[in-house]
């Protein structure tokens, strides 16, 4: 360990929204600047454990553990490294979060793609796809199932309670690890409680990935994973060899923040951000209704930051968005990027309404309508 006397930083103060100042004590700042344990800064880990127990009351809490990761995505990446040999099967929804598909494209496991409806993965298709995989004669086995149950990226849908239980039961039948990726759990606009997979995990087969990126900060790179110790151990050993420990200063800051807020303060903050994103969603839907009625279809999201749009009269949106979008002053992500088979055309697009103002949304949707119109004309001159 290097001598912290030689680190040039002496004191740190942060100002919170509302003007309150948090000054890190000498010991706390020291902790923030020195190497720490691979599974996370202990006071922070304990704080998170208390929160997870409170929110999810996992049925096997005594046999569970929690580690801090460098963002929740690094936890997922290391979980896949741990679980998948190339011949193994992994179940994913189709469409699926594109960065997850990127991870899979490098590991190249066998993918079981399951079509979705307005609640996410369809259990009937899941069942038949797993049957097909097992009888395929492959030496690999279906090992894990990945999903984003709340405000799914990219579709924005929420999986209902009954559907979750059905999926869990199928995972039990085929002995799958469930990778519950839940970065938008705090960005839900109504008070409807949807139990997490962790909260129904009677078997100890769920690895739950939480994130502070949408709630406190994305840049600090802090997430956490809850689940069975033998699986967390695999991730921790990999972290030990790679980043050694999650960024200490980031952990210290979030810990101090949560301590200063207490449960009440945290609830208030969540309520404030939900209010903000709900207004953003409402403005987005307004802009969509104003400019894209009859041109696109969409489901109104109940949380999160995305709307999944389907263009009614185009078979594919990729070229339009990637080659002509910038000139048309509007950029969305083409739907093809989220499809397991990215060679097939996709009429979908993902729009994020998190950072744009209502005025920009109106302008953007107006631009989008023009862009789509031009594209339809372009397509008809080609045919």
């Amino acid at each position: 360990m290097p001598n912290p006397e030689k680190f040039p930083f002496r004191e740190m103060t942060v100002t919170l929204e509302g003007g309150k100042k948090l000054t890190l004590s000498k010991e706390t700042l020291s902790a923030g600047l020195q190497y720490g344990p691979s599974h996370g800064y202990l006071p922070f880990r304990n704080q998170l454990k208390r929160m997870v127990e409170q929110w999810h009351a996992p049925p096997r809490w005594a046999e569970s553990d929690l580690i801090v990761t460098v963002g929740n995505q690094d936890g997922i990446s290391k979980a896949l490294d741990m679980l998948l040999d190339p011949e193994d099967f992994i179940v994913v929804p189709d469409p699926c979060y594109s960065d997850f598909l990127c991870m899979l494209s490098s590991l190249a496991p066998q993918i079981v793609a399951v079509s979705v409806d307005d609640q996410g993965m369809r259990p009937d298709i899941l069942q038949s796809a797993l049957e097909k995989a097992i009888s395929s004669g492959s030496t690999g086995i279906p090992k894990a199932l990945y999903l984003v149950p709340n405000s799914c990226n990219p579709t924005g849908t929420n999986m209902g309670e009954e559907r979750r239980q059905e999926i869990y039961a199928i995972a039990q039948q085929y002995d799958l690890i469930i990778l519950e990726d839940d970065p938008y759990c705090f960005l839900q606009f109504n008070d409807k409680y949807l139990p997490s997979f962790l909260s129904m995990d009677v078997d100890g087969r769920v690895l739950r990935f939480d994130s502070f990126s949408k709630v406190v900060s994305s840049g600090l790179r802090i997430g956490f994973v809850t689940g069975p110790p033998p699986l967390l151990q695999g991730i921790t050993l990999h972290m030990q060899a790679s980043c050694i420990c999650p960024p200490m200063l980031s952990q210290v800051l979030i810990h101090e923040l949560l301590t200063s807020w207490g449960d009440e303060g945290f609830k208030k903050h969540i309520s404030d951000i939900c209010q903000f994103y709900k207004e953003q969603r409402d403005a987005m839907i307004q802009a969509l209704k104003t400019h894209l009625t009859g041109i696109c279809e969409w489901i109104v999201p109940e949380g999160g930051i995305f709307v999944w749009l389907k263009v009614l009269h185009l078979s594919d949106t990729s070229a339009m968005l990637l080659e002509r979008g910038a000139k048309g002053d509007i950029v969305l992500v083409p739907g093809r990027e989220f499809m397991v088979d990215s060679t097939k055309p996709s009429p979908y697009m993902r729009a994020a309404y998190s950072c744009v103002t209502p005025e920009e949304m109106m302008k953007g949707m107006e631009n989008l309508a023009k862009l789509i119109q031009k594209e339809i004309e372009l397509q008809s001159t080609h045919t």
Partner: protein, 381 residues
């Protein structure tokens, strides 16, 4: 150089994350562009608004609200652009890499994460790995899951012995043998990066020993095609090195300028030199008839050999705590952990001179007791 032959299939399979690539569009975008492609959270909702860090010399780094947003929001995978520029300038200044135009740099979450991703980029199970021995345990931890076939190269005061290296590699026939003997300037040995005429060096730098280990900031410099593979791996894993840490390091380097930075590194050097001298004094006082060592010319470790002990592992892990001293047994640094090892690694970074004296005294007692134990075990066998 052709790099594809070095890559694993997994690394070759990596494709850019479109969303992350699209975020780069923002940089050249017209102000009229309505960007709804990235899944960025709204930074106005992040609860930290501003900050201030006081340095040990009394000066302050102010994190005003706009800079705080840079600390808190997602950033580019290769690194916070002002820091990337600073580090590129520093690297060019310190190393003048002969093929700089063909190289790139990425900020990593500590240099070890860069090393891990570089090794994961190249190594498949059972591959040969050439390493000096003893070898840093962190590197061995990265390699262990791949069950590599090690070609451990013994070293001397100067590190890896070229003859031993050539001998180990002699079963393969290189197409060309290049003579890389060079005059080594006395004060600052040139880096491998600085002599890299072929563009075959990946260099891992760290701020952990001089600025902070907990911030998790290091950087990798190397040939563009190889750095690109590391960037792609980072894109789907940690996304980027912690932003606030990068901003703090960048602001600090900006405040210091080159002069301030080298003044600080000189101070760090002087401090560790004093520590080393105190350590040597304690070792000479208590261990000169029990241990052998070479005087370290830098860093923070003393590598001790205990000729009269067969293996230091049990002595340290099972008995050292009773003597109130702890070191790392040398076996942890050996490629073949089934063989006994007579070495131990002592860190002199944090311990005070008084405690070094006490520690070496206790260590001497530990070794003497171990020698007795060893003899009685031998006679009872």
């Amino acid at each position: 150089m052709k790099y594809s032959r070095f890559l694993t299939q997994v690394s070759r399979n990596r494709q850019p994350s479109l969303i992350r690539e699209m975020t780069n569009l923002l940089a050249q975008a017209s102000p009229e562009l309505v960007f709804m492609a990235g899944g960025l959270p709204n930074a106005q909702m992040f609860p930290f608004q501003a900050g201030s860090i006081t340095l040990k010399d009394g000066r302050a780094l102010t994190i005003h609200p706009k800079l705080m947003m840079d600390c808190l929001q997602y950033g580019p995978t290769p690194g916070y652009p002002p820091l990337v520029k600073q580090l590129k300038d520093l690297t060019q200044q310190l190393h003048s890499p002969p093929r700089w135009a063909e190289m790139d740099l990425i900020v990593t979450a500590g240099s070890q994460d860069g090393l891990c991703k570089a090794l994961e980029m190249m190594i498949s199970p059972g591959d040969y790995v050439v390493t000096q021995e003893p070898c840093y345990t962190g590197t061995l931890s990265i390699l262990k899951p791949y069950k590599p076939r090690y070609l451990p190269i013994s070293g001397d005061q100067n590190g890896m012995c070229p003859e031993a290296l050539k001998a180990a590699l002699s079963k393969w026939k290189p197409e060309e043998v290049q003579d890389t003997e060079k005059d080594v300037p006395k004060d600052f040995p040139p880096s491998f990066l600085s002599m890299d005429v072929d563009c075959r060096v990946i260099r891992f730098d760290s701020f952990s020993k001089i600025l902070s280990s907990g911030l998790r900031i290091g950087y990798v410099t190397g040939p563009k095609p190889l750095v690109e593979r590391i960037v792609l791996h980072a894109q789907v894993s940690l996304l980027h090195a912690p932003a606030m840490s990068q901003v703090l390091v960048s602001e600090l380097l900006k405040l210091w300028g080159d002069e301030g930075f080298f003044k600080h590194t000189d101070a760090v050097q002087a401090f560790y030199l004093d520590q080393r001298n105190a350590m040597l004094e304690a070792a000479e006082k208590h261990l000169s008839d029990l241990c052998e060592w070479a005087v370290p010319t830098g860093g923070m470790f003393l590598w001790l050999k205990v000729p009269k002990i067969h293996d230091t592992w049990d002595m340290i892990l099972e008995r050292a705590l009773t003597k109130n001293v702890i070191l790392v047994p040398g076996k942890a640094f050996m490629c073949d952990s089934s063989k006994p090892c007579q070495y131990m690694r002592a860190a002199f970074s944090i311990v005070s001179p008084e405690n070094m004296d006490k520690g070496c005294k206790n260590l001497a007692e530990l070794i003497r007791e171990e020698m007795v134990l060893q003899e009685s075990n031998a006679s009872s066998d």
